[in-house]
């Protein structure tokens, strides 16, 4: 759009100048027609698209959008950890889950899926059952803090989704967790 407008403006200017000259010479028809092309070649540079300057683009807002997935992960914490072969909610997990519950109460449109995970130091089928127990423990804790059960789905991934692949106690400890995923309604 801007291409043709600008080109037309230039051409109009050229036409206007030549027309003024022609008006003086009193041979309007010939003069208007013939010099129009050379003038265009010499004075009108090949079209260069305008640079986008200044460039506009959104910048990340200072802080995180409240109610977003990022808000939940950064400011609340989406994962709590468990002891070996245990589904008891630890003290450090309680702090995170209290914050999760408060956040979820504040954003009632959000629905969640709690995913129970286990380390690789158990057999596959037992670990699915253990992960289910962990997911349920997290679910019950959140429910006790006012999150409506209908907003919560649970599943166990057993030992299938490790977040740390190291074959040592640090790795295993991180893989024994309950992960809260926002499935609906986050901003």
């Amino acid at each position: 759009m801007s291409i043709s407008t600008k080109t037309i403006a230039k051409l109009m200017l050229v036409t206007f100048v030549t027309a003024s000259v022609a008006a003086c010479s009193s041979k309007p028809k010939e003069v208007i027609d013939t010099p129009a092309k050379p003038v265009e070649k010499e004075e009108v540079a090949p079209y260069v698209p305008p640079k986008k300057d200044p460039v506009e683009k959104p910048i990340a807002p200072v802080g995180v959008v409240p109610g977003s997935q990022q808000d939940f992960v950064v400011n609340v914490g989406d994962r709590v950890f468990f002891d070996l072969d245990s589904s008891s909610i630890r003290t450090d997990a309680q702090e995170i889950l209290d914050k999760q519950a408060a956040w979820l109460v504040r954003y009632p449109a959000v629905k969640i899926r709690i995913e129970g995970n286990a380390d690789e130091r158990g057999t596959r089928e037992y670990n699915f059952a253990l992960g289910a127990r962990r997911a349920e423990a997290v679910s019950q804790y959140l429910t006790s803090k006012g999150v409506v059960p209908a907003r919560i789905a649970t599943i166990s991934y057993g030992k299938e989704n490790p977040i740390n692949t190291e074959a040592n106690e640090d790795g295993w400890a991180q893989n024994r967790n309950g992960h809260t995923t926002l499935t609906e309604g986050a901003k």
């Binding site: 899926r113 089928e125 037992y126 699915f128 127990r133 190291e166």
Partner: protein, 439 residues
């Protein structure tokens, strides 16, 4: 026959001794496996395999498959064909025994592969006892030429059966989970291959994770667990038709499937509200019955060979252990008392042993115990191994082993623990299930 078996006894040393008590549960109970296992090393029997074919390499190919099968059983040592003195044996003539004695062959299997006018492959073969100088077997097998591997496996089965007295297990298949990709993002596909790793093919596309496939008794159907982001379900997949169906509309996570020996029932676990219990479904009526009601983990059910008992894994006593119950859920009794964590009990198709996974001292082992929980024997040990499945003859167990940070792979171990072999499959593989013998 008798002199030959006598020498076989020498060659197989303690192995044959071990075979005898395997024959029945009563004998087993009287002679605990543990006692014999610790003594002796298996001395595999030297055997010569020479299948010929005129004008094709089919004879050599069949010979190689038969030799590989027999070698992996642990009871045979196939002799390199380059050492053979007598060449181009006539399948209808008596072999020159002395030339086979010279290279120390205890047995010889020679044969001829031909393709008849209608295009069918025929293999005639004979098995000879070299020292008593007589024929032990004579057999003719036919199939379409592309099934030459199955002919080879059937020859290996016949030889194994004649010389060990046990049922062959080479003409069988394995369903398993083919794994690829980084550890945190594994792609897990249902796959099938021959027992020796040949003819692998994928049965699912990897869009969801497949785990714990199990064969039904007819070897055409496989039950497995499908894990998606938001669900865990059991499917029954028909290998012949490629069709599959979800098992029932059951609330909660459904996993750990296992067919009854007659294929009419499916036992599995359901996790609901954090509690996992065992259910059994009649596959014809689709009616489902709940067998356990403990607020504990009850999973990994496995039927006994006669279908009357289910062994399972439970932590009702505080730590994961092996229990047994009657088919209606009554009569629950604990079987494992050895200290450590026990899981994945799997009944032998012969009914004489239960294979299991045990964790102790930071390691995993595959072991066997008798159905009353006595006579525990650990067969293997490593950083991580589980998922035992029985060969149809109840003599070998396949399982998977996963070294730290590495891909899992499949292994077999013989029930005395003395013969351990890697299953030749090049990629990551876990959760094996051994088919019944093909028909």
């Amino acid at each position: 026959m008798k002199p030959f078996m006598k020498r076989l006894n020498i060659w197989l040393a303690a192995a044959v001794v071990a075979l005898v008590p395997m024959a029945g549960t009563v004998a087993f109970a009287q002679t605990p496996l543990k006692g014999e296992v610790t003594e002796g090393v298996i001395e595999p029997m030297p055997i010569a395999i020479d299948i010929n074919a005129s004008g094709s390499d089919l004879g050599d190919k069949i010979s190689r498959v038969v030799m590989a099968d027999l070698e992996r059983s642990g009871f045979f040592k196939p002799i390199d064909p380059n050492a053979f003195i007598e060449q181009n044996l006539d399948v209808n003539a008596t072999p020159a025994y002395t030339s086979w004695k010279t290279i120390n062959a205890q047995a010889l299997a020679n044969g001829l592969a031909t393709v008849d006018a209608s295009g069918r492959l025929q293999v005639d073969f004979r098995l000879w006892d070299i020292f008593s100088e007589k024929q032990l077997l004579g057999m003719s097998l036919t199939a379409t030429p592309e099934n030459w591997r199955r002919i080879a496996h059937k020859i290996a089965d016949a030889i194994y059966e004649k010389l060990t007295g046990e049922e062959g297990y080479f003409d069988t298949r394995i369903v398993f989970v083919a794994e690829s990709g980084a550890r945190g993002k594994r792609v897990k596909r249902l796959a099938i291959m021959d027992q020796d790793g040949a003819n692998p093919s994928y049965l699912t596309d990897g869009s969801y994770k497949v785990m714990t496939p199990r064969f039904s008794a007819d070897s055409q159907e496989v039950a497995y667990m499908a894990l998606r982001d938001d669900s865990a379900r059991i499917y029954i997949f028909n290998i012949e038709t490629g069709r599959q169906e979800s098992v029932g509309q059951i609330q909660g996570m459904v996993f750990a499937p296992r067919f009854s020996p007659d294929g009419t029932k499916l036992a599995f676990s359901v996790a609901q509200g954090g509690n996992t219990d065992i259910y059994v479904m009649d596959l014809r009526s689709r009616s489902t019955k709940r067998l356990t009601r403990e607020p504990a983990i009850d999973t990994s059910p496995s039927f006994s060979a006669d279908g009357s008992t289910i062994v399972f894994n439970s932590d009702r006593g505080g730590s994961p252990q092996i229990y047994a119950m009657n088919l209606d859920g009554s009569g629950v009794r604990r079987l494992s008392f050895g200290g450590g964590i026990y899981s994945t009990p799997v009944y032998s198709p012969k009914g004489d042993l239960i294979a299991f996974t045990k964790q102790s001292g930071g390691r995993f082992s595959i072991g066997v115990m008798s159905p009353d929980g006595s006579g525990e024997k650990l067969l293997t040990s490593s950083y991580l191994e589980e998922g035992p499945t029985w060969a149809p003859n109840g003599r070998y167990i396949m399982f998977f082993r996963e070294p730290p940070g590495a891909m899992p792979s499949l292994w077999t171990v013989e029930v005395t623990g003395r013969i351990e072999r890697a299953v030749p499959y090049p990629g990551g593989a876990s959760d094996p299930a051994w088919s019944p013998r093909l028909k």
